[in-house]
């Protein structure tokens, strides 16, 4: 049996039946990482001893014939902006190169309680700022489907690790598309939960009103399992809420589903091949009996400029904590440094520690919040955010879910967009609205252009993760990736 291409439920069954042990499984993944990750570079840190000892514990429990949770012994990977106690957490930044996490993020605590096996920490764009994972201070990750292309970003390491069978599932974080866009580029399932559905405690903050942690998996079923394990109210994150209902969606018959398709998401400049794949997927739902309705989200074109005020403004404030004094890179430790006073420590530590994109966004946010510009930029953006949210409220009066492309292109070539920040920002054009409105959205593999995967975005109403997962599963079961694999 090939151990490294199984899903969570398949492994669970095999572990209980003792077809293989958790230790064997863990070792198989570690071996594969050793062999394959030289090409993909999905991992920043692999902790063999830690992983193997976790696996061993699960085998001990199984040997005493006690029951195990679904996620017990399942090897996973964690985006390197989520803290795992005792393990280095870099956010792919030089400023945190030697930072050892002093505590577990709430999502990690929850996964550990389930008996998860953490293989290691995955690469990202520095502080999750980027759409290609090229902004990592430790080098880019490559797309397992085509090593000359990017895996997307910022959770590119997590998506590439799942796609490359280097782990069973991974956690990512999504501020403007950072789970969904790499999931789309790498042909895996990615869920950005409703704002507040998953605790952000222990996630290195980027833009606090937009950030959410979510699963990246091989199947929709796996996605549901991981989401259920990590979601829920946490007293350490005051924005987290208890899900209103964990009950599965009532509407499971495809003929009862009303799907909205916003015309604003099929724009000039979009790759026509992507448009074709997405429209075919929508047609397949229609053939299965779903009702397709054209809807309007009139403020769509303002979502990206709105996002690029709000996210950098929040980032500028959040990243003020990296000051060379409490933790992280400090110019004080540089023996050749000419620093003389406290201000020099701030200026130099931040100049040396942060990469170009991070500094660009801090400056942008600082500008938008500075005296004389606050109303023209930041306050205006918050008002436009209201309008974007209201667009969705209106649309959901008529439809159950909204279908759009995840990104206007498939995975692009390394180096293709990195020199022009604005061009890179445009690859988030279809994903940022969802963060501004706080909604849940799924990226579902729905077809390919040559060998490059394309993802369909399924947007739901707040806290209706179960519904969008259910609807995604219908497609996955009827049209599994093998049906369009070339």
């Amino acid at each position: 049996m090939e151990l490294t291409n199984l899903t969570i439920t398949q492994i669970y069954q095999a572990l209980i039946k003792k077809e293989f042990s958790a230790l064997e499984l863990c070792q198989a993944y570690l071996d594969r990482i050793k062999k394959e990750d030289k090409k993909v570079s999905a991992f920043l840190t692999v902790n063999e001893d830690f992983a193997l000892s976790q696996a061993k514990k699960i085998d001990d429990i199984i040997s005493t014939s006690r029951g195990i949770p679904l996620l017990a012994g399942i090897p996973c990977a964690i985006k390197d902006n989520i803290l795992v106690e005792g393990i280095r957490c870099t956010a792919a930044s030089k400023i945190l190169e030697n930072y050892i996490a002093p505590y577990d993020a709430t999502v990690i605590k929850k996964l550990k309680r389930e008996g998860c096996v953490i293989l290691g920490k995955t690469n990202l764009d520095e502080f999750a700022m980027g759409s290609s994972t090229e902004n990592s201070a430790f080098g880019p990750t490559r797309n397992p489907y085509d090593l000359t292309r990017v895996p997307g970003g910022s959770s590119g390491g997590s998506a590439a690790a799942v796609a490359g069978n280097l782990c069973v599932y991974a956690l990512g974080s999504d501020t403007g598309g950072s789970i969904r866009q790499p999931a789309s580029f790498c042909g895996v399932v990615g869920l950005k939960p409703t704002y507040g559905a998953v605790s952000r405690y222990g996630l290195i903050a980027f833009a606090s009103s937009l950030d959410q942690i979510g699963p990246i998996t091989k199947t929709v079923e796996d996605c549901q399992i991981v989401f259920e394990a990590i979601s829920g109210k946490d007293e350490l994150d005051s924005t987290s809420v208890e899900l209103k209902s964990k009950v599965k969606s009532q509407k499971s018959k495809v003929s009862e589903i009303r799907i909205g398709v916003p015309k604003e998401y099929f724009i000039k400049g979009m790759d026509p091949e992507v448009e074709k794949v997405i429209k075919e997927a929508i047609k397949k739902y229609e053939e299965m009996g779903a009702k397709i309705e054209e809807i309007k989200l009139p403020h769509t074109e303002y979502a990206l400029p709105c996002y690029y005020i709000i996210a950098p403004s929040e980032a500028g404030a959040n990243l003020a904590r990296y000051d060379g004094i409490k933790y992280g890179y400090s110019e004080i430790q540089n023996p050749k440094s000419k620093i003389q006073n406290l201000l020099d420590v701030y200026l130099k530590s931040r100049e040396e520690g942060f990469g170009t994109e991070v500094r660009r966004r801090i400056m942008l946010g600082t500008y938008a919040l500075s005296a004389g510009y606050y109303e023209a930029y930041y306050l205006r953006a918050l008002k436009v955010r209201t309008l974007i949210k209201e667009d969705f409220d209106q649309a959901f009066k008529k439809v159950d879910v909204i279908f759009t492309p995840v990104s206007p292109t498939p995975g692009f070539k390394l180096g293709e967009k990195i020199t022009d920040p604005l061009t890179m920002y445009l690859s988030d054009i279809f994903t940022v609205s969802v963060n501004l409105a706080g909604l849940p959205a799924l990226s579902l593999p729905c077809g390919k252009i040559g060998k490059l995967p394309v993802g369909l975005q399924i947007i739901g109403q707040s806290f209706e993760e179960n519904k969008i997962l259910k609807i995604g599963e219908i497609f996955e079961k009827t049209w599994p990736p093998s049906s369009y694999q070339k």
Binding site: P102, T194, Y195, G196, S209, E235, S238, T239, V241, H299, Y302, P305, Y308, I309, G316, A320, D323, G324, I325, K326, Y327, G328, S330, I332, Q333, I339, Q340, N341, L342, L343, D344, V345, L347, R350, E351, E352, F354, R359, R360, I362, M363, L364, T366, Y367, S370, Y377, L379, R380, L382, K383, V384, T386, L387, K389, P421, L422, A437, G438, L439, S462
Partner: protein, 98 residues
């Protein structure tokens, strides 16, 4: 188009050291992004209330009570201090202000 002087001013506000050779680069890139953001001026925002959070938020209160035992608290403090670049007698050490 923002000026070089503005770029230097923003960097100072953000406490970012900015090498001379990067000023022009940031000036060009930030201007281009800000031009794109100008698009928001087309939207009529009269009478619109701003949204800071997508969900309704309430202040969360809790009693001001000690939760952890003193010993684990001490361990936690030590752990955090170990991460600091410079400490003295259990305190963070900083350079002088002037």
């Amino acid at each position: 188009m923002i000026t070089k002087k503005e770029v230097k001013h923003i960097a100072k506000l953000a406490r970012l050291g900015l090498p001379e050779k990067e000023i022009g680069k940031f000036q060009g890139e930030l201007s281009k992004i800000l031009d794109y953001i100008e698009k928001l001026k087309e939207v009529d925002i009269k009478k619109i209330t701003p949204t800071s959070y997508s969900i309704e938020m309430e202040n969360v209160m809790r009693g001001d009570e000690e939760k952890e035992k003193l010993k684990t608290k001490k361990d936690a403090t030590l752990k955090l201090l170990e991460l600091a670049p410079e400490t003295k007698n259990g305190y963070l050490k900083v350079k002088s202000i002037f």
